[in-house]
């Protein structure tokens, strides 16, 4: 395993479409649920332990080589909002393109053929990590970190928040990220014996509901 490959994959500049998504932050800002740095920290913590944990476990399982088609169905089942499913598939397709150009692998080609309009992003992320020679922990770290770094950078743009404060929020979450990744990988390892039901299924209802409303706004800065 090359640890440097993890830096390439986790880099916020990795060209896989994330910059156009706020992870629900735009809707939360408009609803007055994020007004400053303290709210941002709460929002990110909530997202990390719900959507972040689920994404990390899916990515971990895909990195372990579990059947991506089953994992994709598990991701669908864990994503009630059609708007969020669509966003996850779009991002999965964009990541797939970047992944196939950076770490060409037959497994990625096969998944691209299976899902020409995109599989769920965490599943693609896990397979990308695998193609890059990374393991389930690394894949889970990428997914968990993305679940909070997206909203943090989006909020800097939306509220003109001090970027140092937003980065500090992410840094303070690091110990919790470690815990989430540990739980996620433990669940991912159980999939081989127990099937995808071993994966966590904790959702954040407000994120799902707000995403549906957000998708219908005529004017918005972010795609989700």
């Amino acid at each position: 395993m090359s640890r440097a490959a993890l830096l390439v994959l986790a880099d916020g500049r990795f060209p896989a479409g994330g910059h156009a998504h706020s992870g629900g932050a735009e809707a939360a800002v408009r609803a007055g649920r994020i007004t400053g740095v303290a709210d941002l920290a709460d929002f990110c913590r909530g997202r990390l332990h719900t959507a972040g944990l689920v994404a990390a476990a899916l990515a971990g399982a895909a990195a372990l080589g579990r059947d991506p088609v089953e994992l994709d169905a598990a991701a669908d089942a864990r994503t009630p909002s059609p708007a969020l499913r669509l966003a996850a598939r779009k991002l999965g397709r964009q990541l797939m393109r970047a992944a196939r150009a950076t770490w060409p692998a037959p497994e990625l080609d096969a998944l691209a053929r299976e899902f020409p309009k995109g599989a769920h992003q965490p599943v693609v992320l896990g397979l990308t990590a695998r193609a890059a020679g990374l393991g389930p922990e690394e894949a889970a770290y990428c997914a968990a970190y993305e679940s909070v770094s997206g909203p943090a950078t989006a909020t800097v743009r939306l509220l003109s928040l001090d970027p140092f404060d937003a980065t500090a929020v992410l840094a303070r979450l690091a110990p919790e990220l470690d815990q989430v990744v540990e739980r996620a990988v433990a669940a991912a390892r159980r999939v081989a014996a127990e099937g995808v039901d071993a994966l966590p299924a904790c959702s954040a209802p407000l994120l799902e509901i707000a995403a549906e409303a957000h998708a219908a706004w005529p004017v918005r800065l972010f795609a989700s």
């Binding site: 910059h19 397709r93 080609d109």
Partner: protein, 227 residues
């Protein structure tokens, strides 16, 4: 690209000149430039000028609305299925340069839905003078400025003005009203761009987009000739 030869059914990666089935894909031309300079108006005029001779489609990259796409739909310059809007997360320059994945998806989907296409025009939302298109996304780019945005823009330069394959100075009809010195703009553009072409146009004038349409025709012919 090598990936696609072994797996003809998988979509192309980035700047591949061929479609998955091996045929040459549409030539892709980007239009960038400051807010309100006339990018959408130029795209609309190009569609009207070229739609009878070329199979074409448009991708727009708005900052926070679908206004450009909606304008093109309202004007009915092309059937709706040939116009796609990409969402840019408040950063059109990122979507056309640093992370082109959403635009490549849009291009691919257009080829799938209404292709084979000869020409795809990609408009960037009005941004700044440094916004340029990635070579992974477009084969040539047009930078559109206007005389009303200040006649010192060609002198200020920036990657758009200095490196675009074609510089269009639009709204020459307004020059007398805003006191812009067209001769000076032409001289400054020449100094900044050397041999690269510059077109002065007014979409309100008689010849309209004709010169730019001619340039686009040439690019398309050159692209097809490379096959």
């Amino acid at each position: 690209m090598h990936l696609d030869h072994s797996h003809p059914a998988t979509p192309a990666v980035s700047a591949d000149a061929h479609r998955p089935d091996g045929t040459r894909r549409a030539v892709r031309i980007g239009l960038g430039g400051p807010v309100g300079s006339g990018k959408t108006a130029t795209v609309a005029a190009l569609c009207r000028a070229l739609r009878d001779e070329l199979s074409l489609a448009v991708v727009t990259n708005d900052i926070y609305t679908r206004e450009d796409a909606e304008f093109l739909l309202r004007e009915a310059v092309l059937p709706p299925e040939r116009i796609t809007a990409v969402e840019t997360g408040a950063c059109p320059h990122t979507a056309i340069r640093d992370d082109i994945s959403a635009n490549l998806e849009a291009v691919e989907d257009l080829e799938d839905a209404v292709g084979p296409l000869d020409l795809i025009l990609l408009e960037s939302g009005g941004d700044n003078l440094t916004a340029t298109f990635s070579k992974g996304l477009v084969d040539a780019q047009i930078f559109v400025i206007d005389v009303a945005g200040g006649d010192d823009i060609p002198r200020k330069g920036g990657p758009g003005v200095t490196t675009a394959d074609l510089l269009v100075v639009n709204k020459t009809d307004l020059a007398p009203y805003v006191g812009s010195d067209l001769a000076r703009m032409a001289a400054d553009a020449k100094a900044a761009r050397g041999e690269l072409p510059v077109v002065f146009q007014s979409l309100r004038g008689e010849s309209g987009v004709a010169e730019v349409a001619g340039w686009v025709r040439q690019r398309h012919a050159a692209w097809t000739a490379q096959a």
